[in-house]
């Protein structure tokens, strides 16, 4: 299949209501239902982890038992019964595959259905200019395949599952795991620290610019499982990397918890660009089912002149609750947060960022575009903190909300704390609606109602969408349109 027709097929297939809603009948290895110290030990044992890792998990588990779930968010939901879920589900296919040839073909089929280019050889053999993306695929609890690994190893880039990193690069993992999001951080991050099952690990050595996009696709398949992945990305001095994650899940009537932790670390002059296209199952129109996406994402700009940039396109999940943040420790370090959040029907989202300015002349930029339709409710919540030593620090924040229809809500809650008189903080916020004039103008030019909404909303989000890597920007644009289907009229 040529690149063009492939692109067309993918574009076509994405324009269905929720095409990722299928369930794959695969034999799985499940831990007993419920959460206990034994389950934590079992997970660690299944992964043949060293003792330090198990000890860390157990400390987190004990801490978690003392904690209570936070309740300050705007989203509302029934308490989660943590004893009614599985904490480990792995496809049964014997030992961890050594290469793609050994991966269960049924699993490869699943990823093919999802449109993920796991078969690296196809990409390698592809035409000039074909997107080069190395992929780590996480199915329920385990990473099933990491592509392009050999090619990346040649230049010293480590891209593997976190489980493998614990085995093969324990010194790096011990040094950095929990250094940005400690195991005591918050209820969901602490739970994740105790029971995380897999995720991706990336290390970019000094002076290396990773020559391709790195990408992880997360898939929840098994019923009643939580997914607790853990991602750790380290960019050593003067290193650069762009990383993208995508997520899907089958349609199910129960809510499923996704409580991930992502930690990013940049040393001097390093740069990480982290993009998310989140399309977990959002539940049906009445709000039955869907994923609870309670995620802790945080990056530390440890080095001078380093940069961390978050871009997120959040269209899925019943509830999204997350604040990808930057701790700007190094002097002249830069934090960015670009967000598009779309909530339709009964979806809820409470999302934003935290920019903590510690070093001198640090700067941050926050661009948030929220679109609410149906009966959905959405909150932007963002903290900008200028600490005492942050001389000359600057922040610019722009929050725009777009409402579609009369039954949805949008809220903007900025927190600004400044302890340094030389720091500058700017905040702009707007709320608007798609006007009848805009709709009529588009339709008079031949666009259907849904094409018109999609065009107007894509224009509204443009500033954020254009920060996505090229290959994903097109898909994200389509996704924006699909997420709002049926929102007008």
């Amino acid at each position: 299949m040529s690149k063009d027709t492939e692109a067309i097929e993918r574009t076509k297939s994405i324009s269905e209501p929720y095409k990722y809603g299928f369930v794959t009948d695969i034999e799985v290895d499940l831990a007993p239902k419920g959460l206990s110290e034994d389950v934590v030990k079992l997970i660690s044992e299944k992964k043949s982890e060293p003792k330090w890792m198990l000890d860390w998990r157990l400390k987190a588990y004990k801490k978690w038992l003392e904690m209570t779930p936070p309740e300050w968010q705007k989203a509302s939901f029934k308490p989660i019964d943590y004893q009614d879920a599985y904490y480990y589900a792995a496809p049964k296919s014997g030992d961890k595959p050594k290469s793609l040839d050994e991966v269960d073909p049924q699993l490869l089929e699943v990823y093919e259905k999802l449109g993920i280019p796991l078969k690296e050889q196809e990409v390698l053999a592809g035409v000039e200019g074909a997107p080069k993306v190395a992929v780590d695929a996480v199915f329920d609890s385990v990473s099933v395949a990491t592509t392009y690994r050999a090619k990346l190893e040649e230049i010293g880039v480590i891209f593997c599952s976190i489980s493998e990193a614990i085995q093969n690069y324990p010194e790096l993992v011990r040094k950095y795991l929990g250094s940005v999001v400690p195991y005591t951080d918050n209820y969901y991050a602490t739970l994740n620290s105790a029971v995380f099952t897999d995720g991706s690990f990336v290390y970019i050595p000094k002076g290396v610019s990773c020559p391709m996009e790195l990408s992880t696709y997360f898939r929840i398949n098994q019923e009643n499982t939580g997914q607790f992945e853990r991602t750790l990305i380290i960019a050593d001095e003067d290193a650069k990397v762009s990383y993208l994650e995508g997520c899907t899940a089958p349609m199910r009537d129960e809510h499923q918890l996704h409580a991930a932790v992502v930690e990013l670390i940049t040393l001097d002059d390093a740069e990480i660009k982290y993009s998310t296209v989140q399309n977990w199952y959002p539940g049906d129109e009445e709000g039955v089912g869907g994923i609870y996406n309670f995620v802790t994402k945080r990056g530390a700009c440890r080095g001078n002149n380093s940069k961390i940039s978050w871009t997120q396109v959040e269209t899925g999940s019943a509830i999204t609750w997350k604040y990808p943040s930057c701790i700007l420790q190094g002097d002249n370090s830069v934090g960015e947060f670009y967000s598009v959040a779309i909530t339709n029907n009964a979806q809820q989202a409470d999302t934003g960022t935290k920019m903590i300015h510690i070093g001198k002349n640090t700067s941050s930029r926050i661009i948030s575009k929220g679109i609410s339709a149906g009966r959905a409710d959405q909150t932007y919540r963002g903290l900008v903190r200028m600490q005492r030593g942050a001389n000359g620090a600057r922040n610019y924040t722009q929050c725009d909300s777009l409402l579609i229809g009369d039954n949805c809500g949008a809220h903007t809650i900025p927190y600004i704390e400044s302890q340094n008189p030389s720091a500058q903080v700017e905040h702009e916020a707007t709320t608007s609606k798609i006007s009848d004039d805009q709709m009529f103008y588009c339709r008079q030019r031949g666009l259907t109602e849904e094409e018109s909404v999609s065009l107007i909303v894509n224009g509204f989000c443009r500033e954020v969408l254009q920060t996505l890597p090229m290959e994903f920007a097109v898909e994200a644009q389509k996704l924006v349109g699909i997420s709002l289907e049926g929102s007008v009229g």
């Binding site: 009848d436 030019r445 031949g446 224009g459």
Partner: protein, 251 residues
């Protein structure tokens, strides 16, 4: 052959009668002008023809190209070849003019069974139309109508007409807000688009537009009805005597 037949059209907005029995026939390839005082129903007529919601049609019919279009949505009418150049073109932030044009052109091309144009071919096609309207590439890259001057907006409307190639183009007060130079550019643009397959309906207050775009027929709309029709000389008479006598006719 008639492209458009409006028969005894009555319409209300918010229960208030605006059109009170409009009859109008436009043949293929003809240019008609509708003139009339403020509040006579000119803009209402253009919105009803192009399918804007919010108007209650209480009587009459509109036959376009042999089709009864009253139940057709605005986008369906557009794809059938009805184009409205807006009196107040609307801003769409973040959507580049070129993207907007391409999306619209391809929607219409698909409907007509013509292949969609790819980005390169489309750019060539648009440039060939844009240069005579004094529209640069940088203007095409800007967001639709955002921060445009009155003249730029009107030129962009005519560019859209040139690209979408309608069979019936309704120009709603396209001359309003234009200085004399801009009026000339826009009029030349419209004249270039005149041909024996395309009908044009000009809606205007003033005779001056008709010095540049010479109509085949001129109608006077007053109190929601066409009260007089004639050739281009009717516009000159109106310029001299004003609309007052028509108000009396109806009262």
């Amino acid at each position: 052959m008639a492209l458009l037949e409006i028969r005894n059209l009555h319409a209300k907005v918010n229960k208030k009668p605006i059109l009170n029995g409009v009859d109008l026939t436009i043949d293929v390839g003809e240019v008609h002008a509708i003139m009339g005082p403020n509040g006579s129903g000119k803009s209402t007529l253009s919105y009803i023809l192009s399918g804007r919601e919010g108007y209650e049609i209480t009587e009459g019919e509109i036959i376009y190209n042999g089709l009864d279009i009253l139940d057709m949505a605005a986008d369906e009418r557009a794809r059938q070849g009805i184009f409205l150049a807006f009196q107040y073109p609307v801003e769409i932030p973040g959507v580049a003019g070129l993207t907007f044009l391409k999306t619209a052109a391809n929607a219409i091309r698909v409907h007509r069974g013509i292949d969609e144009l790819d980005a390169m071919d489309f750019l060539k096609f648009v440039r060939s139309k844009a240069s005579s309207l004094d529209i640069s590439d940088s203007m095409l890259k800007r967001a639709v109508n955002e921060g445009f001057s009155g003249g730029e907006k009107k030129r962009m409307e005519i560019l859209q007409m040139a690209v979408l190639e309608p069979y019936l183009a309704i120009l709603d007060e396209t001359d309003s807000g234009l200085d004399i130079d801009a009026l000339k550019v826009v009029s030349d643009g419209v004249n270039n688009l005149r041909n024996d397959k395309r009908s044009i309906l000009l809606i205007t207050h003033y005779q001056r537009l008709l010095d540049y775009i010479i109509p085949d027929k001129v109608h006077v709309l007053a109190n929601g009805r066409i009260v007089q029709s004639g050739d281009k000389n009717l516009a000159l008479e109106l310029e001299e005597y004003g609309y007052s006598k028509f108000s009396e006719v109806v009262e």
